[in-house]
Symmetry: C2
Subunit: 351 residues, 2 copies
């Protein structure tokens, strides 16, 4: 591995000018710049990151901290951030706080310290202690889905979007609604579930509709959890005709449960999800779309901009719009089966 001393020697200059020439910093004559560059190419020189970092204090790295990398929302967000970072030549350090223990270890040990110039936190409401720990990092941060004073944020209007989803059900004439939301005692303490519940409540209150407790169930934002929650609701004496599910992944499970019990979607029960998961379209799930990739992208951009601008930049708070996407899992209350759900005059197997 060639060092900068090697390229300096090859080019017949000092380390100082070699360094300056390579980084385009300071003033270097065009001729020497060329000589140095040539020497560097010859030797396939590339600066040792740790040495450059120690000297400059900059890491050209951004940390991403997330619960559950493996879930759609977070994986999509990580992709969005990675792509934006790559465009600026920044590396991405990933921290997954999948368990309370991992979360605690992260906030007490602060492995990010000295390893990143900025951080983006995904959907992670932080306690006061955690907030001060993060502040101790003294690097720009952006939050996706939460607002923390002093840091930038990008999010959607969860409450408004949930209200929109619920109104869609109401507008279709449904009176017996159900909700599959989040578990308030969930250890990560996510903010979105409560917001979505509030939006649901807004809508039913406005419509003067009452939802019995038996029609409210909590899932863990997985399909399996949604399936279980749905079966709890369907065990009620009187079952709903429509259900708002606070995530598409749970909605997939809910739809499956309904069908397993021999009921039809949407003829017997309408289902609307939340997210516009990549499988929502192929599955015909009605939902409200949020653009996760774009939110993540914007958060990364904002961190990058703040890094470039130095401490000066003031935090930006952005709200990304959502959109109702009507597909095949919602229908008017009491509607007969739609035409394309019946057996069509298509070629059939005879094997």
């Amino acid at each position: 591995m060639a060092t900068i001393a090697d390229v300096a020697a090859h080019a017949g200059v000092s380390k100082s000018t070699a360094s300056r020439a390579l980084r385009g910093a300071g003033t270097v004559s065009a001729a020497t710049r060329r000589r140095v560059q040539h020497a560097a190419d010859q030797l396939a020189f590339v600066a040792t990151p740790s040495a450059a970092r120690l000297a400059t204090g900059r890491t050209h790295t951004v940390a991403v901290v997330t619960p559950f990398v493996c879930r759609w929302f977070f994986a999509t967000a990580v992709a969005g951030i990675q792509h934006e970072l790559a465009r600026s030549g920044f590396d991405l350090l990933l921290y997954d706080l999948h368990q309370p223990a991992a979360r605690e270890r992260f906030f007490t040990q602060m492995p990010v310290r000295g390893r990143a110039d900025g951080a983006v936190l995904l959907t992670l409401p932080v306690s006061e202690a955690e907030e001060t720990a993060l502040a101790g990092l003294r690097v720009p941060m952006a939050f996706v889905g939460d607002i923390v004073p002093g840091s930038s944020s990008v999010r959607i209007d969860d409450r408004g979007a949930a209200r929109l989803a619920t109104r869609h059900l109401l507008n279709l004439g449904h009176q017996r609604l159900a909700l599959i939301g989040g578990d308030p005692s969930e250890p990560m303490g996510f903010a979105a579930p409560a917001q979505r519940r509030a939006g649901f409540d807004d809508a039913i209150r406005e419509a003067g509709v009452v939802v019995p407790e038996a029609h409210v169930a909590a899932g863990d934002f997985t399909a399996a959890g949604g399936a279980v929650a749905m079966s709890q609701i369907l065990a009620a004496e009187r079952i709903p005709t429509a259900v708002f599910v606070a995530s598409d992944e749970m909605a997939f499970g809910a739809v499956h449960t309904i069908r397993q019990l021999g009921l039809r979607v949407p003829q017997d029960i309408s289902v609307i999800g939340f997210d516009d998961h990549e499988l929502a379209e192929p599955f015909g799930l009605t939902t409200v779309r949020q653009d996760v990739y774009r939110q993540a992208h914007a958060a990364a951009r904002s961190v990058l901009d703040t890094i470039a601008a130095g401490e000066s930049a003031s935090p930006r708070h952005r709200v990304v719009s959502t959109e109702l996407v009507v597909r095949d899992t919602t229908a008017r209350a009491g509607e007969p089966p739609s035409a394309h759900r019946t057996i069509p005059p298509h070629e059939r197997n005879t094997a």
Copy 2:
């Protein structure tokens, strides 16, 4: 930020012994060790990573390079690696090669150099040039899904698993099979699609069954791609009674297309996927399971072990088993609807 000189001063020792005491290296008397530790705690000392790296040459970081973080397989693998790394106090640097341009940039610039002590590469068949570029890193590597001489690998028997899936269809009495596989001209050049195709071919050859070209279509391993591929197959003069789809995500799309056209799964067409995606269970998709989390975990472990052992450790090649998981999307050829698919005597809506 306190430096090691600060804690040395506080403890009344030299930097050398302070360093030794903190890292448990060399020999330090119990008493001084305690004094130093106390001083470090007081000052909330934590070694500056770049300085430690420059001095030792170790980064305590592993790089993960993947196409598409946002797809289930890769996101799950990243989670598996992250969790194993965290247990050993290693950081994870993530590189997403989602586009040919990003891939080329990665292999020419080699951003991993000097930033990681090891790497795990996900499902990425490398060219010779790329292989030598990686070798230049001089760090232990493990591949998930591919074999590269000199590096460890963890994978499944794609060909055998595909054969298994196809035999399941054959065993159910199906004679008119179809295949939704990968596109051989896909730029990433993944190895699995060809292997799965080969396994399919093995099975039909053994069974003496012939599959017309019209019953073979390529998808891009997304649900949308699977849906399109399925509709191409269903445009054939004579449609199949069963289809092997090389990934669950494509299978989801395929099932959707079949149902959209008014045909039933599995009564009219049986569908088997590949992966055991987390949504396969809630959706009742028959498939062959591969444990991605475990493969990733093992790959990370193997890199970590090699790092710990130094150059001495010789590469390990592991093949993780797969398993047929029969659910609701496959049935005997010509089978009538199964009981639980018919309308059951359950409470119905009357709204």
